[in-house]
């Protein structure tokens, strides 16, 4: 079962008695309450991967960018090669 969707934490609620953390997560305009109990490090503004109502991982935004930087470097390389054959 693999459909995990990235969403942005908009607010966090901590239950008084037991300390359970729940977050309101925004998925492109749809908001759903998600359990944050497996991602205690996640806070408002973070993106989390959500699967069946649970955040399982915080998205590493720097890592996410790497592939696009690499592809852009390739494009630049191509341009250079075109300019100087």
């Amino acid at each position: 079962m693999c459909l995990a969707v990235p969403g942005k934490i908009v607010s966090v609620v901590v239950e008084e008695n037991c300390g359970f953390r729940r977050g309101k997560v925004d998925f492109g305009g749809v908001r759903r309450e998600v359990s944050l109990d497996y991602t205690p490090e996640a806070s408002v503004g973070d993106y989390v991967m959500v699967h069946v109502g649970f955040a399982l991982s915080v998205v590493d935004e720097a890592e996410a960018q790497l592939v696009f930087d690499a592809l852009r470097d390739l494009d630049l390389l191509d341009e250079l090669q075109e300019v100087s054959p």
Partner: protein, 377 residues
């Protein structure tokens, strides 16, 4: 949607496909393990962007497909008991057991409800104290933390009317079964990114070494899959066989340890039968005895009929990547999504269903190859 859309954009995807084309100099056969990855590949027509040298075969990472008939029969039987609310993910409700599916049982009067999370089932239990609420807990390691939490919460609250029917399976034993099977053509794996989000990927080193296969933890969007394929080919071309992580934005080497701890607290590893593949030792999860009162299989004893797998269904060979769906004689004729013989035709991410829905049909005048070469710009 951020962290989704940009991995589906035309330009970066084409660029990455270029890199794959440059990297492959000989034929390679790669298996993508997870059904969700199969779904993306077939839905986006990703295979068309790959050079002919690269063949993708679809793995058994469809927990719906591998749930044994006996387990579905048990779910159906339990659903038909009086006073029961049977909750399930949508993926599961159309899969036929030996005589009927959960949807068929619903038509007969069973209270079957589709939920998006085990927490929904838990809420139903709280709100319906006079009913027995059972959650059909099917899934890989990705879903185990959610199910573990549901049971843990139920235990904490002292809920007496909540239980789960466990059919959890584990990815690495399945991969091992596939690569060690006679006739296996798998030379490398794209490992299931979201399962690894939970488990990490340290346990894959042993498989990689033992069978000398590259294993690349891969995501689910087209750009992820192409990058995973590129990393795999680079390993294959240079004779390496290591575990690498493509899905670094979501997966850490050690995974989510909080989730792992909760799973270990509630579940233990057990042997499991895989529909279509057979018995694989230490390949599943079951509830620990300390949580036995939440085990629906212990709590309820529905009468079960004779269990018969369809003789014609070749799901096992498809799940192991030894057969393409359209190579099965029943595919598209006697076995269709409306009249399925086996699980891979029913499950939304089963290879047979994906091939059927997305056009790889034998009986069409056009094969998929000619679809790809159609000149409509």
């Amino acid at each position: 949607m951020k962290f989704l859309d940009e991995y589906r954009d035309f330009a970066p995807v084409q660029r990455m496909a270029d890199q794959v084309r440059k990297a492959a100099t000989q034929p390679w056969t790669i298996m993508e393990v997870c059904g969700g990855q199969t779904y993306t590949i077939v839905k986006t027509g990703l295979q068309e962007l790959l050079p002919d040298l690269v063949t993708l075969i679809h793995g058994p990472g469809c927990p719906v497909c591998v749930t044994p008939t006996a387990m579905i029969d048990r779910a159906v039987g339990t659903a038909l008991l009086p006073n029961v609310i049977l909750c399930s993910f949508g993926d599961m409700v159309r899969v036929p057991g030996s005589s009927q599916s959960l949807l068929d049982a619903k038509a007969q009067g069973a209270d079957v409800r589709i939920v998006y999370s085990p927490l929904d089932a838990l809420q139903l239990a709280r709100r319906n104290p006079d009913k027995e609420v059972i959650f059909f807990a099917v899934g890989f390691e990705t879903t185990a933390p959610a199910n573990a939490m549901a049971v843990w919460l139920a235990s904490r609250e002292g809920l007496m009317n909540f239980s789960i029917l466990v059919s959890h399976v584990l990815v690495p034993p399945a991969m091992e079964a596939v690569v060690s099977a006679e006739g296996s053509k798998v030379q490398a794996f794209l490992a299931a990114g979201h399962a690894c989000m939970v488990t990490g990927y340290e346990e894959y080193h042993a498989i990689s070494r033992k069978y000398a296969v590259p294993i690349v933890v891969t995501g689910f969007e087209p750009l992820d899959l192409l990058q995973g394929i590129l990393m795999t080919i680079e390993q294959l071309e240079s004779g390496r066989a290591e575990v690498e992580n493509q899905y670094t934005r979501a997966v850490r080497q050690t995974g989510n340890q909080l989730a792992q701890r909760r799973v270990a607290e509630v579940f233990e590893v057990t042997h499991r039968d895989w529909r279509g593949i057979g018995y694989i030792p230490s390949s599943g999860l079951s509830l620990r005895t300390s949580f036995e009162r939440f085990d629906a299989a212990v709590k309820f004893h529905p009468s079960l009929g004779e269990i018969e797998e369809s003789g014609e269904c070749m799901a096992g060979l498809v799940l192991q990547g030894l057969l393409r769906p359209y190579e099965c004689p029943a595919f598209g004729t006697r076995c269709t999504p409306d009249t399925p013989l086996g699980a891979p035709m029913v499950s939304s991410e089963g290879a047979c269903a994906a091939y059927f829905h997305f056009g790889k049909r034998k009986e069409n005048n056009e094969s998929f190859v000619s679809l790809a070469s159609a000149n409509y710009g």
